[in-house]
Amino acid sequence: MSDTLLAMEGITKVFPGVLANDEVSFDLQPGEVHALVGENGAGKTTLMKILYGLQKPDSGTIYLRGQATSIRNPRDAIAQGIGMVHQHFMLVPPFSILENIVLGEETHTAGILRMEEPTEKIERIMRENGLPVDLSVTVAELPVGLQQRVEILKILYRGAEILVFDEPTAVLTPGEVDDLFETFRMMKDQGKGIVFITHKLDEVLAVADRITVIRRGKVIETLPRKGATKAKIAELMVGKPVLLEVKKETVEAGATILEVRNLRQTGERGTAVLAGVGLSVKAGEIYGIAGVEGNGQTELVKAVTEPVKLDEGDVLLQGQSILSWDVRTRRDAGIAHIPEDRQRFGLLLPFSLADNLTLGRHHRPPFVKGSQWIDSAKIRESARKTIAAFDIRTPSETTPAHALSGGNQQKAIVAREMSFEPILLVASQPTRGVDIGAQEFIYSQLLEARQNGKAVLLVSADLDEILSLADRIGVMFKGHIIKELDRAEATREKIGLYMTGGEQDAAH
């Protein structure tokens, strides 16, 4: 055991009312990728925060290379060779890549920066780990995938031997994911250890050597990759068998519900964020928008759900232009919207669950009488029905929304939008940050909407999600739909290529 890089033993951490980590033990060998999987709130993040010195454990010991140690803050962690690639990057956009990497560890002579030595060192690191970048480019100009690369270089530059990746693939295209895994392999060869936190079980099986499953703060099992299957891991995570394959019934598509024509919009920086998007969604159809984030998806959703300034184009609901309609008019006309940033847009947290479940319809009968008086009895009654129908776990309908668990908050938003009986449902990254159990629920809800003859516009960065749900797929790249595919002709590889604009490559 002396060559064990890291061992965390009996880690316990209690938050008010929550046992986040319960006697958790976790170890990492040199040259190993150890995947840490579990549902949201299972305690993965807490465990890694303890490792990185952001949280103090209530009990338990951390051993680094066999030595018991204490990590009081991230500075300590870095000094002891622990590095972390966060979900949200910590980079200074106007600085060059080189400057970002050396920031905080600058080499200087009497206050004058010297960049030759660091440059050499970084170039060596890039070669050894398969992480090529142009050091002179400013970070602001980089696509997300390359920004992540800079983050990795940053921690390698500081001599990290233990690298923690928190859901690193969420922001990457399939090609970039492959590159990242190649980097993992090269780092393994140098004897480094990698902790890989993810929701995606395919990736776990593709790259991990061992897999530790955490549920409700406890380690359920640590298993070698050999013999591990998706179904097995998912079952360990959730605690019961999980339906991974989505069962889709055949639905005859009906009349066109949503039509988007040639949308053009200029962004803040004067570049086109929408460059002629056109699509149509029929009743009983799920239209999936695939693409790397930041290629106009957010703007497209906005144009459908709220009034925005456009240079050109039109949005039609059942043949009627809705461009000048405000959000309320659009909602009244039957557009429901599961927003991408649900933390920010989804719920009025101090308000009761009942109020939240009627929000958006709160201004109409039956929830108001005589146009102005709130009928709270009706609101509660309707909420109770929704809570039962969508299995939202809550002490009561009058409980404030902030008291619900994250998963149940997500459920509440989906439940609200579905219970409106919309004719068009716009679902933006509906399963982002959602655990497997809730994901199953959301998928079944989307498919049920489709079966009930609703039109669904699904925007997702998760290719598997698009492939399991959509009837037609539009791949967005640089503000327009670069390619529209029928589900039958779509494959991961094809979509992946179009996502990076590789039209020519895909042609042959």
């Binding site: 309320r328 008086w373 709130i374």
Partner: protein, 365 residues
């Protein structure tokens, strides 16, 4: 079962301001000891001037009436996240418009009284309308514009009372308007209290503004918690993003709440103008609009909470006079204590809120 537990949370919330008050009291006693008074003396002086007899106690309530209206005006706007710092200017203008209706409209008493109240509200709303429109059309932050409008209001009434609307020569050398017609003057309600056995002396002003304040309190409560518009006010105050997403017309709500806040603010000066003085002057008590901000804060922006915090502020004001009269502690100490009390209450509130949130989370889990 669940009900009882929620009531426990409620009780904890209510206890927070009490603890803040006690903490501030301890500081007050320490300060007075440094100044050279005994705590006993200080407490006696305070009690003597606030609660020692019916007259003192009634005075506290009398002083609380305009403070309540001010706190209410600020609280309503705060509920929608609108920072109406312009209550000060709005009550100077509202009072003037009300007074003009009282001076120049010859009406029978039953009509004249509601007319002057509505006129004052219209005046306050009018003065709030300009910053409100600037906010929703041009995005000019209301804190800046309302503060500037306070100064404009003061200068404006100063000019008007000295110039075009001056009633000087008629009966006084002080700059003031003509006298308000007797049909519009606010009478006292003291005999009502005396009739039910409360010995409120005649010199204390418990006048028609008490009725106005009670009606406003009830209307505000109904608006905020029973009407759809109030729901939208609270939603906008909680999150503009969520409200916009849910189809609430955020700007309409902001405009509406600004006008309502201004209308309530217009009433603050009525006690002094219609019950005490009987004419308008720019020398009516100033600063009540700013007191309203603190009162709303301590009253947690709730119409009911504001009742208690207005009474607390009235108590402190009176206590300050008591200290000045009977001890060597300067009146200004009361300002320090008021400030400290606000800070204590805010901090304790925050701690309690977080604690309750954690408890609720535990319950839901």
């Amino acid at each position: 079962m669940l009900r009882i537990r929620f009531d426990k949370f409620r009780l904890m919330e209510l206890l927070a301001p009490v603890l803040g008050f006690l903490a501030a009291l301890v500081v007050l006693l320490i300060i007075t000891m440094i100044v050279g008074e005994t705590p006993g003396n200080t407490i006696r002086a305070i009690l003597k001037f606030t609660v020692s007899n019916a007259s003192r106690l009634a005075s506290v309530f009398s002083v609380a009436i305009p403070l309540f209206l001010s706190g209410l005006a600020v609280a309503i706007a705060f509920r929608a996240g609108v920072f109406n710092i312009g209550v000060e200017g709005q009550y100077f203008i509202g009072g003037l418009v009300g007074a003009l209706a009282g001076i120049y409209l010859p009406l029978p008493k039953v009509i004249h009284l509601p007319v002057v109240v509505l006129a004052a509200m219209a005046g306050g709303a009018l003065w709030a309308a300009i910053p409100a429109v600037l906010k929703i059309t041009k995005g000019i932050h209301e804190v800046i514009s309302t503060i500037m409008f306070n100064n404009i209001a003061l200068a404006l009434v100063n000019f008007l009372v000295n110039g075009p609307l001056s009633g000087r020569g008629e009966q006084s050398l002080e700059p003031q308007t003509r006298r308000i017609l007797s049909t519009a003057l606010f009478g006292k309600l003291n005999h009502w209290f005396q009739a039910i056995g409360l010995n409120v002396p005649n010199h204390v002003y418990l006048d028609y503004t008490l009725i106005v304040a009670i009606i406003m309190g009830i209307l505000a409560y109904v608006l905020l918690f029973r009407l759809r518009f109030g729901f939208e006010i609270r939603a906008v105050g909680t999150s503009i993003d969520v409200s916009h997403y849910a189809g609430i017309r955020v700007k309409t709500v902001q405009l509406g709440v600004f006008l309502i806040s201004g209308a309530v603010a217009g009433l603050i000066g009525m006690q002094e103008i219609f019950a005490i003085r009987g004419y308008y002057t720019f020398q009516i008590a100033s600063g009540l609009g700013f007191d309203g901000i603190a009162i709303a804060l301590i009253g947690r922006n709730s119409p009911i909470g504001v009742i208690f915090s207005a009474i607390l502020f009235a108590f402190l004001k009176q206590a300050g006079y008591g200290l000045q009269l009977y001890t060597s502690v300067p009146n200004s100490i009361i300002y320090i204590i008021t400030g400290l009390m606000i800070i204590f209450i805010v901090i304790i509130n925050e701690i309690v809120t977080r604690y309750i949130r954690a408890l609720r989370k535990k319950e839901a889990a």
